[in-house]
């Protein structure tokens, strides 16, 4: 036990120790909390999940309605989709039923989207670079995708746009005779090609 004259030092030491202990525990407590993945921001995990499900649902519904293959078939044989510039549609969805659904579901909710179409090349492999149906820019780091495959047959015909009601009309040219972005991957059977439509969505 210290004598009366050194009591101040002992008190000071106690206070410093207690203070340091408090500070250390506070620092430790703050270091271990897990934040950010769920905080409200455009890069939240919730939003990514929600957008992925939205894109998947959209593809499934439109596949059931049969609007996607006619849009894929509206190709004007000059190297781009009917009504689009050579790199695809840059202002939104194509002027077909599928494009209308894309615009109403995604663009009106401020979700940007790209639609890429992968096909099977004549050597039997998947194409490395897709044909872009809709190109609204480069996706952000937190984009999500949804994909679905569709089958094209030799006797499917190319289609052209019908401006009066945003639909497509068949032309007389069958896929087997036309210049199309996908080749006839198997000439012995009636299956022309299998294409995969990928919809990339991200928050603008």
């Amino acid at each position: 036990m210290v004598t009366g004259g050194d009591r101040g030092q002992a008190h000071a030491l106690e206070a410093i120790t207690a203070g340091m202990l408090l500070l250390a525990s506070l620092l430790f407590a703050l270091q271990v909390t897990a934040v950010t993945p769920l905080t409200g921001s455009t890069s939240s995990q919730h939003i990514e999940n929600q957008q992925a499900k939205l894109a998947e649902g959209l593809l499934a519904a439109e596949a059931e309605n049969g609007t996607i293959v006619p849009t894929l078939l509206s190709w004007n044989q000059s190297g781009h989709f009917a009504g689009a510039e050579p790199g695809g549609f840059h202002g939104g969805g194509p002027p077909t039923a599928f494009g209308n659904v894309l615009n109403r579901t995604l663009r009106e909710r401020n979700i940007a989207f790209n639609v890429n179409v992968f096909y099977v090349t004549s050597s039997g492999e998947r194409s490395r670079h897709p044909v872009q149906l809709v190109d609204l820019g480069s996706p952000s780091d937190h984009a999500s995708t949804a994909t679905r495959s569709f089958t094209l047959y030799d006797d499917d015909v190319l289609r052209e746009l019908n401006d009066t009601d945003d639909s497509t009309d068949p032309t007389g040219t069958a896929l087997a005779d036309a210049t199309y972005f996908a080749p006839d991957a198997d000439s012995d059977s009636r299956v022309y090609n299998v294409v995969e439509v990928e919809v990339v969505v991200w928050r603008m």
């Binding site: 106690e14 203070g19 525990s25 897990a34 769920l38 999940n49 499934a60 495959s149 059977s189 995969e196």
Partner: protein
């Protein structure tokens, strides 16, 4: 107040308690946030993709059978070979796309059912090629799909079911248990088309429909509809049939229309003397259906299943 000598100890213990409380609070908060994170992650081992693959394979198989059946007069071997080629080609192409999602997929044909279709495409009486009004379409049939399009004003006007049984158009299934007729007539005093199902002494049901402006009524035995309206009696009659049965027509001159009868026997087994190239009705080879096996394997999911595709069936 405590003694001067014990104040240090007091402060130390107080500080320790406070520290432990803070750490506990932090650990609780951490646990809550982490649980929330894990619970809202995208769960699911990806079984949705396996089902999507099977759905697309089914659609492809059905579309291929229907396209092949539109060609008349092909040999069964050609039809089977074309179908198998299409399925193999599709399987190879789709595998490229599935590989990107780290899944191996394949579809193979297990078996193909040969069938025959007896078809009348011009609107004529329901008589056989020689003009007989009572004739047999097919015998030893296991499965069949019949679709008729009759015009109302050609039907017999009957005043009772037994009158219709004797005098109106009858399509009769005959199996080991007896006769199961379906009668097509117009009830006296109306302009409707009525289909009486079952023998008159054991009536299963009756379906009556107004033919509308074009005077035609489509009766579909596969979808159990009369003029688009559901008629469950037809389904009940077909469910009660034995394994093998015969299809006959009686009073074929009492109705005019077109029809298509698909049976799952090959053309050599169908007892009808009609020609593929002659006048209506014609008989031609078709594929009745096929059985395919689909395999989907990914790191989390191994799915293998066999499914059957029947030509002309709707997706419902």
């Amino acid at each position: 107040m405590a003694d001067v000598d014990d104040r240090g100890q007091l402060m130390l213990v107080g500080a320790l308690t406070l520290a432990v409380m803070l750490v506990t609070l932090a650990v609780l908060l951490n646990a809550a946030i982490y649980t929330g994170n894990v619970a809202t992650r995208d769960a699911g081992p990806g079984t949705g993709e396996a089902i999507e693959y099977e759905t697309e394979a089914t659609a492809m198989a059905r579309s291929t059978i229907e396209a092949l059946n539109e060609r008349d007069g092909e040999e069964y071997d050609h039809l089977e070979q074309n179908f198998t080629d299409a399925v193999d080609a599709w399987s190879g192409m789709a595998r490229n796309h599935s590989a990107v999602s780290l899944a191996t997929t394949s579809v193979t044909t297990v078996s193909v059912d040969f069938g025959t279709v007896i078809r009348q495409q011009d609107s004529l009486a329901f008589t056989d090629p020689d003009g007989a009004e009572g004739w047999r379409l097919a015998e030893n049939v296991n499965e069949s799909r019949i679709r008729l399009n009759v015009s109302q004003d050609s039907l017999y006007v009957a005043d009772s079911p037994s009158d219709a049984e004797t005098n109106a158009l009858n399509v009769i299934y005959i199996d080991g248990a007896g006769q199961h007729p379906l009668r097509f007539y117009t009830p006296d005093g109306t302009d409707d088309v009525r289909v009486g199902v079952g023998p008159t002494w054991a009536l299963i049901g009756q379906c009556t429909v107004d033919p509308g402006a074009d005077d035609q009524v489509i009766v579909d035995f596969d979808e159990n509809t009369v003029g688009g309206e559901p008629c469950e009696a037809i389904g009940t009659l077909q469910d009660g049939l034995g394994d093998e049965y015969e299809i006959r027509i009686r009073n074929g001159h009492k109705a005019t229309g077109t029809y298509a009868v698909n049976v799952n026997k090959s053309i050599g087994n169908v007892a009808i003397a009609a020609d593929a190239d002659g006048d209506d009705p014609t008989v031609t080879t078709v594929l009745y259906g096929a059985t395919l096996r689909v395999t989907y394997r990914s790191p989390d999911v191994y799915y293998r299943s066999e499914f059957q595709v029947v030509a002309g069936e709707s997706d419902a």
